[in-house]
Structure formats: structure tokens, C-alpha cells
């Protein structure tokens, strides 16, 4: 699933990028803190399936804040309005990522790029994960890599 020979960042699509509205992908990088894909593969099949159902529910436009949600302007001073999380039903597993408008001529299209996996210990979100996601989201080369999958130039 290589993108370009030069890129250090790649995507592995979980759902087809050709969906009319939304898609999901794991972010692949040498950075050890980027662990979503590897952690997903290590989950039990039951937990993987629960997440697949939630990923597809989001892609299909279902609304369920117990399954997945973002953060609005009133939270954390509006710093993480692009961040997104998927929650497990039966375990404390969480997948953090960010939403990206990957088609410049179809701004309604959203890609959810999953970065981190964690086991949530407390009710409140650990901001560390949001910071980590946001830090990656701000890297210009990350955007270039994503756009390349959609044949968009930055």
C-alpha cells in the first residue's frame, strides 16, 4: 500500500476510499507512537468486529455518541475540533484520529485517519492522545501524503 517512494507516511484504508461521503484509514508511519494499525491487529476478533461495525456506522452516517464522537469548540478551548475517537463496546479500547477533507472539490467528503490506540483508564479523555493526534495533523507532509491518495495536489 505504498504511496510514493519519498513519503514517510502512508494510509491503509479500512473502508473503500471511493465511498461517496466518508472513508477510514489507518495512518502508517515509522513513529512508534503511531500504533493504531498494529494495535488493531492485536485485538481479539470480537473486539475488532465491534470496531469494524462502529467504523462502518460512522461511514454510513449513523449518529451514536456512545460509539464515536469528536470535540466541539467549547471543549479544550476548541483545540481539537478535528480530532475523533471510536470507542469499544465491550472493552476500554479507544482509537484516536482526525478528520480530513481529502477531496478539494468535494468538501463534504471526510476521511477519518486513525493514529493512536489506547486503553482508556478514566472517564475523562486523556488530552495526551488528542495532542499527539493534533501534532501529526499539523504536519504538512501528512496532508500531502493524504491528498496523494486522492490525486489532489496541495
Amino acid at each position: 500500500m505504498a504511496n510514493t517512494a519519498k513519503s514517510n507516511y502512508n494510509l491503509e484504508f479500512i473502508t473503500s476510499k471511493d465511498h461517496k461521503k466518508r472513508a477510514l484509514a489507518f495512518f502508517i508511519s515509522d513513529d512508534k507512537k503511531v500504533n493504531a494499525k498494529k494495535s488493531f491487529n492485536n485485538l481479539s476478533r470480537n473486539t475488532q468486529n465491534w470496531f469494524r461495525i462502529r467504523f462502518e456506522a460512522w461511514r454510513d452516517g449513523k449518529i451514536n455518541k456512545n460509539w464515536f464522537h469528536g470535540w466541539d469548540k467549547s471543549q479544550y478551548g476548541g483545540k481539537y475540533t478535528n480530532c475523533f475517537v471510536f470507542e469499544s463496546k465491550t472493552t476500554t479500547d479507544r482509537f484516536y484520529g482526525f478528520l480530513h477533507h481529502s477531496k478539494k472539490y468535494d468538501l463534504g467528503y471526510e476521511l477519518c485517519v486513525l493514529i493512536n490506540h489506547t486503553q482508556k483508564r478514566e472517564q475523562k479523555t486523556d488530552e495526551t492522545y488528542l495532542k499527539r493526534v493534533e501534532k501529526i495533523r499539523m504536519v504538512l507532509d501528512v496532508h500531502k501524503s493524504i491528498y496523494a491518495y486522492f490525486k489532489e495536489l496541495i
Binding site: W50, I53, K62, K89
Partner: protein, 161 residues
């Protein structure tokens, strides 16, 4: 096209449709304020049994499906459909999509309801032909159009000899 995960095994397929069903149950339970304790009492089973059924959709049986739906005042139908994806590359359509369409359509309870909305133009009352009529109807596929069709587009009633 990459294989959909429900195509890996029947067990995965059951997990998906079982989980969609459970999501419908849980949404109704949340809406009506029905706890797992209440559900367990109604079903005369332990709370842990209820939790087991709701958390393991891969093991769900038709008997569970019917009993659990009835316990919260719902009914169940099994729907087979053709979405032009015979190899299941896209996965099953979420059962809520069918439920919402049915509700938007005015909750028809039998085939007469369809005929009232879409009177047959010939003596084509078999369900296959009725389906073709629906496909060829001049109405938009938009669900709201089904509820409020514009009178000018309405198919004419057959004239009896």
C-alpha cells in the same frame, strides 16, 4: 475490490447482522429507559445472560432475536434483498436503513398498502411485478416523495372492463 470482513466466515456475517439488531434494541432501551435488569426480569433470565447476548452478537440465535425484541415491545422480520453486490464486497446494509425506510413509507403492514400508494397499471399483482413497478415508478426514490407524491405524477387506476 477488497473482500468485506463479513465475507471471511458465516460467523463474522452473523456478528454484523446480530450487532445491527442489538444496536436497534439498545437504542430502543435507551429511549424507553429500559435497563438490562428490567429486560432480564421480563425475560426471566439473569442480568449476566442478557449482557452475554448483547455483547456477543456472533452467538445470537433467532430464538434470542425474537424473545429479546418482544421483551421490549418490538417485532422482527428477516429481509433478503438484492443490492447489486452479489459478492458482498460492501457488506450487509444496516438493518436500521430498512426500518427507517419502512417508517418513512408510512409503516405499511401489508401489500394492499403498496397498491393504494402505487396502483398497478396492469393485472400485475405478483410481488415480483410489484417490485418492478416500484423501480419504474415516475416518483423520485426519495422517501419523502413516497409519503407525499405529487398528484400529477400519480399512476392511473386500471379501468375495469
Amino acid at each position: 475490490m477488497k473482500e468485506h470482513w463479513t465475507q471471511r466466515s458465516i460467523k463474522d456475517y452473523i456478528f454484523k447482522i446480530g450487532a445491527d439488531f442489538i444496536a436497534q434494541l439498545e437504542e430502543k432501551m435507551e429511549m424507553e429507559g429500559i435497563s438490562q435488569d428490567v429486560l432480564a426480569n421480563t425475560l426471566k433470565v439473569t442480568k449476566s445472560r442478557v449482557s452475554q447476548v448483547l455483547n456477543k452478537p456472533g452467538n445470537i440465535t433467532l430464538q434470542n432475536v425474537i424473545q429479546y425484541a418482544e421483551a421490549i415491545g418490538m417485532k422482527v422480520s428477516i429481509v433478503a434483498y438484492d443490492d447489486d453486490d452479489p459478492k458482498n464486497t460492501k457488506g450487509p446494509i444496516n438493518s436500521d436503513v430498512f426500518k427507517i425506510c419502512w417508517e418513512k413509507f408510512g409503516k405499511p403492514t401489508d401489500f394492499w398498502a403498496f397498491q393504494e400508494r402505487f396502483p398497478p397499471t396492469q393485472q400485475d399483482t405478483t410481488s415480483a411485478q410489484l417490485n418492478n413497478d416500484l423501480k419504474e415508478t415516475p416518483y423520485s426514490a426519495d422517501a419523502m416523495d413516497f409519503i407525499q407524491p405529487t398528484p400529477t405524477n400519480q399512476p392511473k387506476l386500471p379501468i375495469e372492463a
